[in-house]
Symmetry: C2
Subunit: 304 residues, 2 copies
C-alpha cells in the first residue's frame, strides 16, 4: 500500500475542493468547502486552507501542496501569469508559482493558459482538468461546458489553442435581467423546448437572422401563446447552446469531441450535440485532481 504523497486543491471562484493523493495518484480522501475566492474575505486564503487540511497535516505531516484555478488570478491569493499556447505539460510544470506559507511549507500554483491574437483568450483551472484527462498525450477536441464554456484543441503533446464562449453567463443575465425573463416561469425540465431552441441556435447565423435576432423569439413566442411560460427558459438555453455548438463546428468540423464533466449542464450539451449530429465521448470524474497529480509529478514536487 502506498502512502499519502500530495495535497491537491481545485480552487475556483465559488468552491474549494481538496484531495489527499497517494504516490500512485489514487484519491485517499477529499474535503470540500464553499470557500471560492469570491467567498473569502480580507485575503484569508491561508487560514481557509489551514482549516480545511489541518486533519491531514496532523495525521501525515507536511505534504507537498499544489493548486489550480482562479486562486491564481489577480483576485486570488497570488497572480500566476498566463502561459501562452501552444503549451505543454513541461511548460506548465516549469511555470508553477510558489507561495511560501511561513511554516516552511510551500503552495505551488498552476498558471492559467492564454491565447494571443486579435481576440485573446484565457483559462484558469481547465488546463489542469485537460492534463488530467490525458489531453497532452492523446490530443483531440475537448468541450468544457460552463458559465464560460471552452472549446480546446490539443495535439502533439500540447494544448494548441482554445476559444471561450460566454453562453452560460449570457443565458443567466438574459433570464434574470432582460425583458426575456418577464415571460418565463419555473417548470419541469422541458427537453422538447430545449431542442426547439437548439435547432434555432444551430441555424441562427446562417439562415435565421443572427443570434441578436433569434433570442428575441424567446419573447415573441410566449407573447403569441406559442410557447408556455415554463418552456421559455429551456428554449432560450437551447438557442444559446445551439449557437455555441454551431460556432465550434464551424471552427473544428465534425470531429468527435470529448465532452468534459458531469451534471445537468453537461447533459444538456450532450443532448444538443446529438441534435447537431456531432459525436462525443464522456469523461471520468476528478480530472482536476488527476491533473494536479500529473503536474506535481512533472515538477518533481513529490518524493523529495
Amino acid at each position: 500500500m502506498t502512502g499519502p504523497a500530495l495535497i491537491a486543491l481545485d480552487w475556483g471562484t465559488t468552491s474549494l475542493r481538496a484531495y489527499l493523493l497517494a504516490d500512485d495518484g489514487r484519491i485517499l480522501d477529499r474535503r470540500q468547502a464553499k470557500a471560492g475566492i469570491l467567498q473569502i474575505e480580507g485575503g484569508r486564503f491561508h487560514a481557509t486552507l489551514e482549516t480545511l487540511i489541518a486533519a491531514w497535516q496532523t495525521a501525515h505531516g507536511r505534504l507537498p501542496l499544489i493548486t489550480s484555478g482562479m486562486i491564481g488570478s489577480r483576485q486570488g491569493w497570488v497572480e500566476a501569469p498566463y502561459l501562452a499556447c501552444p503549451a505543454s505539460l513541461d511548460g506548465l510544470a516549469a511555470r508553477l508559482v510558489v507561495v511560501p506559507l511561513g511554516d516552511g511549507g510551500r503552495l505551488h500554483v498552476v498558471p492559467g493558459l492564454a491565447v494571443e491574437g486579435d481576440l485573446p483568450d484565457v483559462m484558469r483551472g481547465e488546463e489542469t482538468e485537460l492534463v488530467g484527462l490525458g489531453a497532452m498525450q492523446d490530443g483531440g477536441l475537448y468541450v468544457l461546458p460552463g458559465t464560460h464554456s471552452k472549446w480546446v484543441l490539443a495535439q502533439g503533446g500540447r494544448i494548441e489553442g482554445f476559444k471561450t464562449y460566454m453562453t452560460g453567463e449570457i443565458f443567466a443575465v438574459l433570464k434574470d435581467h432582460s425583458i426575456l425573463g418577464r415571460l418565463m416561469s419555473e417548470g419541469p425540465a422541458d427537453e422538447a423546448a430545449f431542442l426547439k431552441g437548439v435547432d434555432v441556435g444551430l441555424e441562427a447565423d446562417d439562415r435565421l437572422g443572427g443570434l441578436l435576432h433569434a433570442v428575441f423569439s424567446a419573447r415573441t413566442l410566449p407573447l403569441m401563446d406559442r410557447l408556455p411560460a415554463t418552456s421559455v427558459a429551456p428554449y432560450l438555453s437551447g438557442i444559446l447552446i445551439g449557437a455555441e455548438i454551431q460556432a465550434g463546428r464551424s471552427a473544428h468540423g465534425d470531429r468527435t469531441a470529448t465532452l468534459v464533466g458531469g451534471g445537468p449542464l453537461v447533459d444538456l450539451y450532450a443532448l444538443a450535440m446529438q441534435r447537431a449530429g456531432l459525436a462525443f465521448t464522456s469523461t471520468p470524474a476528478d480530472a482536476a485532481a488527476r491533473g494536479l497529480f500529473i503536474i506535481a509529478g512533472a515538477a518533481g514536487l513529490m518524493g523529495r
Copy 2:
C-alpha cells in the same frame, strides 16, 4: 391659416409625447411627460392624458385623439391586436382600436405589427414612425436603432416584414450585470474603441468564432492591458452593433438604408454603417406625429 384638427400621442414605455396638429399636419404645439406605461400606476391612463391635454381642450374644444406605441400593448391602456405583415396604411387605419373616454370623446389606438413564422416578430410604435417617414409610398429599407433595434423592409405600399435585434438591451445587461462590466469604467466617448469593436462584430460570425466568443474579448483585452478600462464599454457596444449590421447586410445586401431618428445612439449606428461601407440617409424629426396624422386621415377621423 388652418386650425387645430387632431391631438396625436406618441405613448411609449418611458415617455408620453403629445402633439397638437393642424389640418395640414403642421405641429401647432407639443407637450411631453415622463408618463410612459411603466411609470403610470394603477391604470391611471385617462387622468394622465386629461392633465396633459387639458389646456388644448379648453382652448379648442374636443378634438379627435389618436395614439400609438406601447400604450396599445397588454400592459398598456387597451390591447390593440397586432396586424400581420405585409401591412398597408389602409390596413392600419381599419384596425384602430377605440377607447370611449366617457365624456363622448374617443381615443383611437394604432395596432402594432407582427411577422409570423418560426421566429415571429412584433413592433409597436415604429409602424407609425414608418408611415410618417413615407415608407408606405416610397418603400425601402429602414433601420431603427434602439433597445430593440428594427430592420424593416417596405415595398409596394406595404411594410413587407421586419426583424428585431436585441442589441441595445444585451449591451445594457452585459454592462450592468455580467463579468464584462467589472473591467469597465466611465470615460469620454471613444470612437476608436467603438470602431475596433465594430470591425470585430462585422466579422464575428464569419471569421472570429461567433458572437458568444467575440464578446469575451471585452474581458480579455483589458485583462491583458491591451484596452483601457474607459474604452471597454464603447468596444463592446461596437461588437454588438457591428454584429447587428452584419446580420442586416446578410438579409438585405448592400442597399441604401434609411437610418431613423437622432441622438447619440443613432450617431453610433451612422459611424458603424460607414465603417461597414453601407450607404444610408437620415430622417427628419417628429416622424411619429406625422405618421399619426396620416393614419388619422386614412381613418377619416378629422373634419367629421
